[in-house]
Amino acid sequence: MLAKIVIVGAGPAGIRAAEVLAGAGLQPVVLDEARQPGGQIYRQPPPGAERDAFTLYGSEAGKARNIHAAFGRLGKSVDYRPDTLVWNCSSNALNILHKGRQGIVPYDRLLIATGAFDRVIPFPGWTLPGVFTLGGAQIALKAQGVSIGKRVALIGAGPLLPLVASQYLEAGADVAAVLDVTPFGAKIRALRGMLAVPEYARRGLSLLLKLKKFGVPTAYDVRAIEVTGNWHVDGLKWRDGAGRWHRIACDAVAASFGLKPEMQLADLAGCATYFDEATRQWLPSLQAGGRSSVPDVYLAGDCAAIGGADVAELTGKRAAYSVLRDLGIGFAADELKGIETTLARHTRLRKALDAAYPFPTHLIDAMSDSLTLCRCEGVTVGELRASYVKTSAPDVNRLKAFTRVGMGRCQGRVCGAMAAEILAGQSGASLPDVGRLRGQHPIKPIPMVV
């Protein structure tokens, strides 16, 4: 009997993995929470909202078309199940929800390609209507052709910032300011490393030139941010490196500070993780070929390590080849060799990007007691600090039990890392010692059928 292989996620990693496995005649199951393949980066607008690929994806239009076409060609050689939420994993089976009905999908091999989510750092006003993540601002434009506001301020600490800014400008949006909370000098110093993938360095430079051409106010090394407004956003205050405050009128703000892997499912599958000091976050422990610490579970794309869409295509294929090898199925090794060579260059690029956009800890140091940290349950920074004083909770899971932080609908996806930062700051323990919120099922809300 054929091994049953299940891929979770149909972004660039999941699609390329499916292509390799289908090519070997294995008919993988592809479970996709979205209604159409492409993931977030190559997300397709719903029927009725279609626009041409260049308007949607800009310089990446060719890659988007290729990915969508590649998946289309697979036809019946994959068992594609869109609109299917995977909410738990145990004993080599996934619990799923599709159109309000639950089901169980067993697997022999599981390939997780669940992508990434914006890294969030709370600041005053971040829960007001009109504040979104940078990823969210991009989705609004890509999937719906709308701007998140009439006049938009963009704030970030990663390559997504100039990308979203240029996409908004090209689409005709009024961009009030582009504020990078990391220093410009860090990018200059990292330039050499970025040349490991010359195409990427060129693309980055052309984005910066575009911002200049449009004449948008741009600042680096932004030290503090504060969204103003009583019931919704009416402006933004920010402090520059010299300590001067600036004020901008705007009705929307998009802010986030890099990306983090969506690894709840890998966590439930038992995959080991480690704390990566360079990017100050937890990542899944990866072994050769995209294997996880669990023998029959493989990781690909941004949920394995943040690398972007091009890397996701490559790691998707690589993980699929590892599945074939572990099943004892032969394949021509030439392509795999090429993939490893290209990935090595991308690893150098990623190191340079991490150095160009260091995680902005000054924004964490600035968090005051009155700030809402957990937006689901309304738990404040002060409540977390007071809880530590009272309970001496040694790790973030204990802190969760005492304060409800991370217990809301998002399951700590948004606030978990920041709760750990607050606990570490208050207790003097290191971030690895404070730990991370354990994955809990259901990893997203599901209806309760009595």
Partner: protein, 106 residues
């Protein structure tokens, strides 16, 4: 005003057929292919009340991760506004308005 001016603005014209749904019993013109969050925020600045304190919310991540945009529908379903597409005649209930059809103080 939370209730009267839009948060989102259309930048791209597209073909999708025009539909009517209701948001808190008001008729709202939308397009086929609009997500509920788009449909609502093209007409007002928030999508729900914050249930544990003052204030309103308008979603946050738009990719079904943060769970900030749950709304009720007339048929009893509760859905995420950022990954549910409008259907003709859909009744969206945000809970923003009081019995007089007004939001207070904002």
């Amino acid at each position: 005003m939370i209730s009267e001016s839009p948060q989102f603005h259309r930048l791209a014209e597209r073909s999708g057929e025009q539909l009517v749904i209701t948001v808190d019993n008001r008729d709202v013109a939308v397009r086929q292919g609009d997500l509920i969050i788009t449909a609502v925020l093209l007409h007002q600045k928030a999508i729900r009340r914050f249930e544990f304190g003052d204030g309103f919310r308008a979603g946050y991540c738009l990719m079904a991760a943060c769970q900030d945009c749950w709304v009720s529908l007339g048929d009893g379903r509760r859905v995420r506004a950022c990954d549910t597409i409008v259907e003709p005649g859909m009744e969206v209930r945000t809970g923003i308005f009081n019995a007089n059809g007004k939001t207070e103080n904002c």
